[in-house]
Symmetry: C2
Subunit: 236 residues, 2 copies
């Protein structure tokens, strides 16, 4: 005959306990993955570090991959949020893209081992499109896609530029850039890479001296000059 409020409060208490355990497992897994990598971390490791029995992990997660997914979800949520916030605080497309690049590289470098999981699991999953990792990735990259569309709209890129191709170029470049920085142990050279990428993406102005594109531009330039001169002479 306890009222329903009491019931609710009791179930909440239980749920809180449950959530606390779940969080403890995720936290333990996250730290272990970052430490030893996904493959070398065993369920027993995770159970021990979070103070439960091996079997208990399976009450909260379907299997080891599921634990990894939860860890990733945690990470992506924060990443998407902070990226969106940063983008909102800026106005010009170019500034936004530059911020995004810097932000992304910093976060990825700081959580390198955890992101290994994406490539480890990404390939394995048969129906990646339906997976939650895909959804997380998508939510994040959507933040960029919106910025990209705006940039195209505002003439920073050719009108017929495909936003999805731009996205692939952007994230692909950053991923490889990070890998190189990690390998070379020059994790502070983010700035250098970001500037290099911006120059390629937006064109650095000074480029293409004798190249085909410029030869055409030069010829065109000369032709326009001749035309203008002719017009000037005739219009008097």
């Amino acid at each position: 005959m306890s009222n329903s409020a009491a019931q609710i409060s009791q179930t909440q208490t239980r749920r809180q306990k449950v959530e606390h355990r779940e969080e403890a497992i995720i936290a333990a897994a996250s730290s272990l993955f970052n430490d030893k990598g996904y493959r070398k971390t065993t369920i027993s490791d995770i159970a021990r570090q979070s103070g439960v029995a091996d079997g208990t992990v399976y009450l909260y997660f379907k299997n080891k991959e599921d634990v990894a997914r939860a860890v990733l979800a945690d990470f992506y949520d924060g990443l998407t949020q902070s990226a969106q916030n940063g983008v909102d605080a800026l106005s010009s497309p170019r500034e936004r893209i530059e911020f995004f690049a810097r932000h992304h590289m910093g976060e990825v470098i700081g959580n390198w081992r955890i992101l290994e999981i994406v490539s480890t699991l990404g390939h394995t999953i048969d129906n990646y499109e339906g997976s939650d990792i895909y959804a997380l990735n998508r939510a994040y990259s959507t933040v960029f896609i919106r910025v990209a569309k705006d940039a195209i709209q505002q003439g920073e890129f050719a009108k017929d530029t495909s936003p999805t191709i731009l996205r692939d170029i952007f994230f692909g470049s950053l991923e490889y850039g990070v890998r190189t920085l990690m390998i070379k142990r020059q994790q502070n050279d983010i700035e250098n890479f970001v500037q290099g990428l911006m120059n390629i993406l937006f064109g650095s102005g000074q480029a293409r001296n004798g190249a085909v594109g410029n030869q055409l531009a030069d010829r065109l330039d000369q032709a326009v000059s001749r035309m203008e001169q002719m017009l000037d002479e005739n219009e008097t």
Copy 2:
């Protein structure tokens, strides 16, 4: 008291047998990896398909990862070779880079499951620089680096462009592009992506409203207008 030539010939015969076995194991593993993926392929599978006992595999390879490495080495050798050949057959930097992109995407898509291994092996950064996979990767990307340096030299990119950053942008973009094509099951859209990438890398001319390129276009527009007007006036 058989002469040393005979001895050598005999050991060669034996070594040939050994190499044949090794090749058979690599071939079996390669086909199985491509079929079922690395993780789901067991040593027993590989042993059965190459007609040896499980234990025999370990006479030729230290462990399962070692088998995978050999398969990868095989793949990279061919990739590097064909990339170099293709590049050698072309002269302009732009054509070379475009060919490289197409070639790379095609090969990666065609050997998708085998390349899983690269990420599956979860190379921890500590020992990556000394690993054989790193050396293979390096040999391959060196082919591109040479092309890139040449392109910069010839003015296709700003003189101060870093070849290694260009390399990261190039391969990173392609990797992400392939991933997208695989997910979307549009593996024949390589051409579309390659063109999009080329436009970004080399600048598409029509881009950037107020930018340098457009000033020329504006002058052209104005000159043409004046000419048209002049012609109209003269034709009466």
